[in-house]
Symmetry: C2
């Protein structure tokens, strides 16, 4: 943990304006949301398309320069995904001019003139924690923890960094999976795997927790309050019993998988229940 809690700088594009009492700029909170969602959404502009590109990918935050860094430290986001060929090409193109000037594999996200290199991307990670059912449709809401990161994506070309990122992403799917699978990757596997590093420029989180906030005139209307059930339906991501594949030769589900399913489910459920029972934010800022 850093000695004091780090926050992302508030930029015009990253500042939460509406319901800003739900906002957080804490690296710790933002990185934790990103690292605990099964997928994140990556958006970027493709000059050849009238619409932005938006694709789900696997992402995990870490620091190649300081692998022992904590969640609340300054980290990069590493991205891996099947549908990223356009993203990879755009990132490559975006780096070419810079690479010609200073060569690749410097491990630095900034070019010599101080400008960031790479493709501008926006990352969105969201946990839905509950359905908030109020007296009136207008006061319905979700409990959620949502994070946004803004940064520049560049292809990872350094072999050591690529190995670091592959291990980070694999252990993001199931903790400790890397050393429980066949490693190291072959040369062909290394060559065919594309990973992106996002240097984060800014970020924010938005969190809603607690019970519905209804209006006084509805609460005082006995006919309404006596008829409409209000509360929260907790929501979380559940993992089921692992199903062995047809080629599997290992008798028992190994501990790293079994433990993750058990502990992950327990933890996810507890958060959803905790978020439901947290004190409501002041009524003024609710719809």
């Amino acid at each position: 943990m850093p000695s004091q809690e780090l926050e992302y700088p508030k930029q015009p594009f990253s500042t939460v304006n509406r319901y800003n009492n739900r906002a957080s700029y804490s690296l710790q909170q933002i990185h934790e949301i990103v690292n605990t969602t099964h997928f994140i959404n990556v958006s970027f502009t493709d000059p050849s398309s009238p619409f932005p590109v938006s694709i789900p990918m696997i992402g995990q935050m870490g620091s190649f320069a300081r692998p022992s860094a904590d969640t609340g430290d300054v980290l990069d986001l590493y991205l891996h995904g099947y549908i990223s060929s356009r993203l990879l090409n755009l990132s490559r193109n975006n780096n070419n001019s810079d690479n010609n000037k200073k060569g690749e594999n410097t491990g630095s996200g900034s070019s010599s003139n101080g400008e960031e290199q790479g493709l501008p991307v926006t990352i969105s990670a969201t946990h839905v924690d509950g359905l908030v059912l109020a007296l009136t449709p207008n006061n319905h809401s979700y409990n959620y923890r949502s994070a946004t990161l803004f940064g520049h994506a560049a292809l990872v070309t350094d072999v050591e960094e690529k190995l670091y990122a592959m291990e980070l992403v694999t252990n993001g799917v199931v903790p400790d999976r890397w050393r429980n699978s066949r490693v190291p990757p072959t040369g062909a596997e290394m060559a065919s795997t594309g990973l992106l590093r996002v240097r984060v420029a800014a970020g924010s989180a938005k969190i809603r927790s607690g019970m519905p906030g209804d209006d006084r005139f509805d609460l005082e209307n006995e006919q309404v309050a006596g008829r409409v059930w209000t509360g929260v339906v907790p929501v979380w991501t559940q993992m089921g019993e692992p199903v062995a594949g047809p080629d599997n030769k290992v008798q028992a589900v190994p501990g790293h998988v079994r433990d993750y399913v058990r502990d992950g489910n327990k933890w996810a459920r507890e958060i959803a229940l905790e978020q439901a029972s947290k004190a409501m934010k002041p009524k003024k800022t609710e719809d």
Copy 2:
């Protein structure tokens, strides 16, 4: 159901290039993914920001012109969300020139010259159905069902359409919730609620199911195959026991909530297990 299965036209920006055997353009499949995720991701370009905007919102597909339309019919996407003030403003600005020409509330998404009005948006909806654990990190994957829609967002101004969309979105949170809450909305509630209609220009889905696909040389390596467990950890969105709020006056959890939690969980789990046990796609197209 339409008499034949409708498909979105393949546009340069909507065509799935990589793993295209996982692609689908079926309205039915795409709309079902969008309508069954708890949130969707909305991306658009903000001229004042170097990064695209990407925000989670609640979205539901329907047809105001033909409310009885099925999931596989031509539908619009209605969006509602707390963090949409920039989106609302951009959509408003994008419509102004057009509205001046032809007036509002025509219920048509196309201007008289054939160009679409509204803000270009990309919608991404994703279900994670399983963690696919293979012998080697490279062959790890997810089972998922992911949909992308490309369209033009415009503010809903017609009162009847707004009511239709509010009911659609509310019943998307919990089926039948609308008539089990205090309706109709007051004038103030109608005025304070911003809803967007997205006219869909194109869309695609991408679906991965089945067990891991490992390489022959790993499968034939007894030391590897005898040590590394392979299979699928099914994943789904789980809803917990509803928790009554402090203001709730209704004794029992009502049927529409209870049934949704029970049936929704059963259905979500069954899909995750089904997706895990489906036949693998031909090896050639896997990593």
